[in-house]
Symmetry: C2
Subunit: 307 residues, 2 copies
């Protein structure tokens, strides 16, 4: 049985030097050196066992996903990730479990040059993982939800609906490794977010489904949109494993894709790879879905807690 | 029934201007303006219902305490608190509960000029409150655990053991309003922490009990200590409500006081109010407790999770 101190030193404190970190894990707080030429971005997101991932998910995937969803928020702001703190509520302290958790955490952290600088471990009746990230962005250049202008094109990164189908796989409905991984280990679009600085007029990340999240961006920008569901980017795996109606339903309404949705002029982003235009910003207030020339009604609620 | 968005806007988003906050609640992340003349301090701490406070604790006190324990970490680093993010895992969304929680949160936040800049609310089978604070401290001047030198005097702020007795009261063992409040609403010693900049050689906050926390400071500084238990500052309420053995036992080993323990020369801190010298730093490696001229053995384990 490990106490908190041993647990932290054994699994989480790698005693590595990292840029800007004067004091990391091991004191009452982290001491960090900021750069005043940049604004700072802070994001925080919690994953709860049984709510945000199946309870039997393996610990490396849980940790990976907890960091990745925060990196996705950072990407949606155009930020460069720097530092991470971790608040971990554990039901038991199982060494093997913790080792795997730490492996998943550092796998994604290392891939994005993110340093773990502090944290807190507590005991509770359920596994709760809260990750907080700090990053930086060029002064005044953060990508907000509120800058979309009528006439802008609406883009998304990657492909949509995969994570929704992947969650179905995890719940026993079909099996496809690619889709499952898209749920378990989302790809934070940090590089694209950085490339959008000074180019995109607004951005949001897709955690609750395209329709729900795009609606938030439109509302923050006081604009409407017209999107064409035939233009939604769908992966080969999704197309091979689900019928067309399900593909589109998942792409529009399932959460957890952690792709970016952003607005920009076509010209501004012409050099950026891995993005797809799906419609345009209007001066209305509605989000209109079109299939070719026909307007279609999509039932959706987004992903809402407490309903 | 409220969804997450409504919940945040109704109870937590006050849309106030705050220093350094370019974008607060409502986007994918907060945008903050840092000052490069200062180092940044980040702390994070979680409270779990039934582990860190009795489940029936009223929501205003839970919120107050969750912020206060983080402010205490900030105080132990000598930091000036600036910004807060909140990750709240709720069992249900009860409007009255949330309103009281928000009241407690903002009561302590306002008292310390702390702005809530972001957060995440999730659903779970147990109430978990994680607060993350960012603050600033003069470049290179953060108070660490590691600077204590032989010959330094050891000080504590306020009085010790009250919170331990207060928790006993909450659990039905006696009743004293002052003691109960000392557990529910600890007083973060932010002002004293700021006053110790450039004066204290090392500092830690007392969350797990004096003996356990002082041992961490000594270990980080590679020194020993000699303290006199007759010099421990005990409140009038503690002395009135507990026998002398219990008073001392609580003062030495009960957690949750959130006072500061620090080392300094007597001269350096002679102008600071509300502190008590309890012993001195030695060039040994032991923490020796003395009662007058007799060395006493105190059984203690500190407060350790997972034991």
């Amino acid at each position: 049985v490990l106490d908190e101190f041993q647990l932290i030193t054994r699994y989480f404190d790698r005693q590595r030097e990292a840029p800007g970190v004067a004091v990391g894990i091991g004191d009452d707080g982290a001491v960090l050196m900021t750069n005043a030429a940049f604004d700072q971005i802070q994001v925080i997101d919690t994953l709860v066992a049984g709510v945000h991932f199946p309870r039997e998910t393996n610990p490396a995937d849980i940790a990976y996903r907890a960091v990745a969803v925060n990196l996705s928020d950072m990407a949606a702001m155009g930020g460069r990730p720097l530092w991470m703190t971790l608040a971990l509520t554990l039901v038991t302290s199982d060494g093997q479990w913790l080792q795997q958790f730490a492996n998943g955490l550092f796998e994604v952290a290392d891939a994005f040059d993110l340093a773990l600088v502090g944290g807190d471990t507590t005991r509770g009746d359920i596994l709760v993982v809260t990750v907080s990230l700090t990053g930086e962005v060029e002064r005044g250049k953060a990508l907000l939800r509120s800058g979309a202008r009528p006439g802008d094109t609406i883009f998304v990164t990657g492909s949509l609906g995969d994570a929704g189908a992947g969650l179905q796989c995890l719940q026993g409905h079909g099996e496809d490794k690619f889709l499952r991984q898209r749920f378990l280990r989302p790809t934070p679009r940090v590089e694209i977010g950085r490339a959008l600085i000074g180019k995109a007029s607004a951005a949001i990340d897709l955690s609750d489904g395209l329709l729900g999240d795009l609606a938030k961006l439109l509302s923050a920008s006081s604009v409407g949109a017209d999107i064409d569901i035939e233009r939604l980017p769908l992966s080969k795996s999704l197309r091979a494993n689900r019928d067309i109606a399900t593909q589109r339903h998942l792409a529009l309404t399932a959460g957890d894709d952690y792709e970016l949705c952003f607005t920009a002029t076509q010209d501004a982003v012409s050099g950026i790879e891995g993005i797809t235009a799906i419609g345009s910003v209007t001066d209305g207030s509605e989000l209109i879905c079109r299939q070719g020339n026909t307007i279609v009604e999509i039932e959706h609620s987004g992903y809402r807690h407490f309903q």
